[in-house]
């Protein structure tokens, strides 16, 4: 199998552009709905989430499923009517409540009111998450800052190891992957109400690391080929490099995604969307390295070619042109 990526670059670029455009549109709509490009979860918006499970070892507690109306009424009595309520589990014996941040006393009163209506809860199955609004903002800023710092660090490292144009294009490919992933989650947020949490930021950063990997492997090969087949056109060199590394790109993506796919399909709730974000990001990463980063490099160097020749005649390095 041999693919000539430079021939189909109009199509692959258009596909990427379309994906990103849809994602950006989804982010714009969710900006209007939630005031943020992605639906912020508890970690960023602040609030309290309570999760209870009835203690089924006690007689009669679990005879009937939890009645949503009863829960809603208890909450309304305490002025928390705007909270979102979810009944959990196949037997409908679990309860999840998301509200504004609650003081310990208020939370305790709510819990005992719920217990007197619904029966005792099992303390070993309880989960309480409270995040103050200021802390949520801090977490978000720290996450965004981490993303920016890693971008910068990667640009500097790649500029040193390769050349500035490689570094900038690697970052373009990386932005592509981050935007595609964020776009899909913006859509999921609109359609399915999926919220993003700290783990989503972690996923984005992991995607950053892995996506640059993929691109670097191909660029590494391009650089090597430029030394050995320097006389061939840049597009041809890039095509050769992509095909040489194709097996690796596919196999690595496959072996990384397999465990993630298993976690997404079979794993528990907590890691489900984390795994999904990584899967989307890694697939986008492989795609962008093979079809986008490589052809962008060829396109850029072709544009620079005439200038490059003059530079060579002056005995200058192509880096000095910028």
């Amino acid at each position: 199998m041999k693919i000539v990526v430079s021939k189909i670059r109009t199509w692959t670029w258009a596909t990427s552009g379309l994906l990103i455009a849809v994602g950006v549109l989804a982010m714009a709509i969710s900006w209007m709905q939630f005031g943020a490009p992605l639906k912020p979860g508890l970690d960023f918006a602040g609030g309290t989430r309570l999760q209870f499970e009835r203690d089924c070892t006690q007689a009669q507690v679990c005879d009937t499923p939890i009645d949503l109306a009863v829960v809603r009424q208890v909450l309304t009595e305490q002025g928390l009517g705007s909270s979102s309520i979810q009944i959990l589990g196949a037997e409908q014996q679990g309860l999840s409540i998301r509200s504004v941040p609650l003081e310990p006393e208020i939370r305790n009163r709510l819990q005992s009111n719920l217990e007197s209506e619904l029966g005792a809860f099992d303390p070993a199955q309880t989960q309480i998450d409270t995040v103050g609004p200021t802390l949520g903002r801090q977490l978000l800023i720290a996450g965004m800052l981490a993303l920016l710092v890693s971008f910068l660090g990667i640009i500097i490292y790649l500029s040193v190891r390769f050349q500035t144009d490689y570094a900038v294009l690697a970052i373009v490919a990386l932005l592509h992957d981050v935007l595609v992933t964020a776009g899909v989650f913006a859509l999921l947020g609109l359609v399915q109400g999926v919220e993003i949490d700290s783990l989503f930021v972690v996923a984005l950063l992991t995607i950053v690391g892995f996506s640059v990997n993929d691109t670097v492997v191909i660029y590494d090969r391009v650089r090597e080929n430029l030394k050995t087949h320097g006389d061939a056109g840049i597009s041809e060199v890039v095509d050769i490099a992509v095909n040489q590394t194709l097996g690796r790109s596919i196999n690595t993506t496959l072996t990384t995604i397999l465990p993630l796919l298993a976690i997404f399909v079979l794993g528990g709730e907590t890691l489900k969307y984390f795994a999904l974000a990584l899967i989307i990001g890694f697939v986008a990463g492989a795609y962008s390295s093979i079809f986008v980063a490589s052809t962008l490099l060829a396109w850029w160097r072709e544009r620079q070619m005439p200038a490059l020749k003059t530079a060579v005649s002056y005995g200058e390095d192509s880096d000095l042109l910028e």
Binding site: Q51, E53, P104, E105, N108, D122, P123, A124, Q125, T126, Q127, I128, D129, T130, V131, G132, T134, L135, A142, G143, L145, A146, L147, V149, S150, G153, I154, Y157, L158, S198, L199, V202, L205, T206, G209, F210, V212, N213, V216, V217, D220, T245, G247, R248, N251, T252, T255, T256, L258, P259, L260, A262, I263, V265, L266, G267, G268, T270, L271, F274
Partner: protein
């Protein structure tokens, strides 16, 4: 050449044995999301009197918080500073943190009380009783297995005993907000002991003089209470019976060493600080909640990994098998490194670990793809493997470093779970460079020293045949 291989093999075997010992001897530290418990983040608020939270302020508040946590009697509770103005409190096994939240919030209460007349004999007896109870409590807390009922009883006894002691004192007007500073002072001569110096403001100095005049030379003590617990009970010498200790500065001397003097000074400073503490985050996970969901995630991840191992053998043949062995060694070494470094394993941490295994596979894939190419180019088996490793190394290094850069940003700027993930991924990436380059390489060269395995077909089945 063979000598070097043999040496590397010995190193690998030694490392594996060492890792096995570490893993079997030291328990892994599980995060609260895996074993249940409450994690609270406290933000120290600034006030007009304390406009900035300096490290010294934070340290003082930390000691107050630690004192309150000790009062709760949660075993293995941890209090850490986090950022410039936050404290992280971990309470393993606590599923109802309401009590903790109640005692942790609010401002510390430091009071200077005078011992009631007629209690001179009773105080040392009560203090000895308390010391015995505290000793018993710490023994019970560290005992394996923990006897929860006895522990609860002893905690209640400790509280009752503390209240008993507090009854021996009567209140004065002097409270912590009059205390300007407190610090430990090194002994003046070679033989002296450490002292704690306390300084009051003007009004505090007057109150202190009055308080010390009343008890000087009587054998009764001045009781310093932090959050209603006696932290120090110095006596005042008879020479101050006329005027009391005037000037607003006093020294507490006793059997202090540098450590204990400093501890007391920090406690005093913390008690004097009018900074409120607010709980900004509370993450509580019941002891069994999510255990199923977590176990499912881990099993699913492991299942996926088994598929990866099978794929490697199917696609890369003998090198794939060797890579699988190297991956098992990798997983063992990385896990041992976690235990040794004391990484707290959280759910995202485990996800980071599983991902780093993916990275480790990548390093092997890079090498074998390269080896295959070299074989196709007509090189000998030995030369192909050699240059496969050599040429793939720069890609492996570049990809590892870019991942480490992202990890570094997370470790630097992230907190809690996010940092846990980044640390596990970073350790994993570092170990993977070692195992891909050392283990796979050594084992591969070892295998081709066996004649029956020295067949190109075992390395790149179809393609090589096609070329021949």
């Amino acid at each position: 050449m063979y000598g070097k291989q043999r040496f590397l093999l010995a190193v690998i075997i030694a490392l594996v044995v060492a890792a096995l010992v570490v893993v079997s001897q030291l328990p892994a530290r599980l995060g609260l999301d895996l074993r249940g418990g409450a994690q609270l983040t406290l933000a120290v608020q600034t006030t007009e009197a304390v406009p900035e939270i300096t490290p010294r302020v934070l340290e003082a508040v930390q000691s107050v918080v630690e004192g309150r946590i000790n009062g709760l009697g949660v075993s293995e509770a941890v209090v850490q500073t986090s950022g410039n103005d936050q404290l992280l409190v971990q309470l393993p096994g606590v599923s109802d943190p309401e009590q903790a939240e109640r005692v942790l919030g609010g401002t510390a209460q430091l009071e200077f009380l005078a011992q009631r007349p007629g209690t001179e004999v009773q105080l040392p007896i009560e203090q000895r009783l308390l010391a015995e109870l505290l000793l018993e409590r710490s023994q019970l807390e560290t005992a394996e297995p923990v006897n929860a009922q006895e522990l609860a009883e002893i905690r209640e006894k400790v509280q009752r005993q503390e209240a008993e002691i507090a009854k021996l004192y009567e209140s004065t007007e002097l409270t912590g907000d009059r205390l300007r500073d407190a610090f430990a002072q090194a002994p003046a001569g070679a033989t002296g002991s450490w002292r704690v110096v306390v300084q009051f403001d003007t009004r505090g100095g007057d109150l202190f003089a009055q308080l010390t005049r009343n008890i000087a030379g009587t054998g009764r003590t001045l009781g310093i209470f932090l959050d209603e617990r006696l932290i120090s009970a110095p006596t005042v010498q008879a020479q101050y019976a006329e005027t009391g200790i005037v000037g607003g500065t006093a020294e507490i001397s006793g059997n202090f060493d540098a450590q204990s003097a400093n501890d007391l000074a920090i406690q005093l400073r913390g008690g004097a600080l009018p900074v409120p503490v607010e709980i900004v985050e509370n993450r509580t996970v019941g002891a069994t909640l999510g255990r199923d969901s977590i176990r499912r995630s881990i099993y699913a991840g492991l299942g996926g990994l088994v598929l990866v191992l099978a794929f490697m053998v199917f696609y890369y043949r003998l090198p794939g098998l060797i890579a699988d062995i190297a991956l098992c060694i990798y997983a063992l070494l990385t896990y041992a490194a976690f235990v040794l470094v004391g990484v707290t394993l959280t759910l995202p941490g485990i996800a980071g670990f599983i991902l780093s295994i993916g990275m480790a596979v990548d390093a092997n894939v890079l090498i074998f793809e390269r080896t295959r190419e070299e074989l196709q180019a007509g090189k000998t088996l030995y030369r192909s493997i050699e240059s496969g490793f050599y040429r793939a190394f720069s890609s492996i290094l570049d990809s590892a470093i870019t991942t480490l850069i992202a990890c570094g940003a997370l470790i630097w700027l992230g907190s809690g779970l996010v940092r846990g993930f980044a640390i596990t991924l970073a350790i994993g990436v570092c170990v993977s460079i070692f195992t891909a380059v050392t283990c796979s390489r050594t084992l591969l060269f070892l295998s081709i020293s066996i004649p029956s395995l020295r067949k190109p077909v075992l390395f790149a089945p179809r393609k090589v045949e096609a070329i021949q």
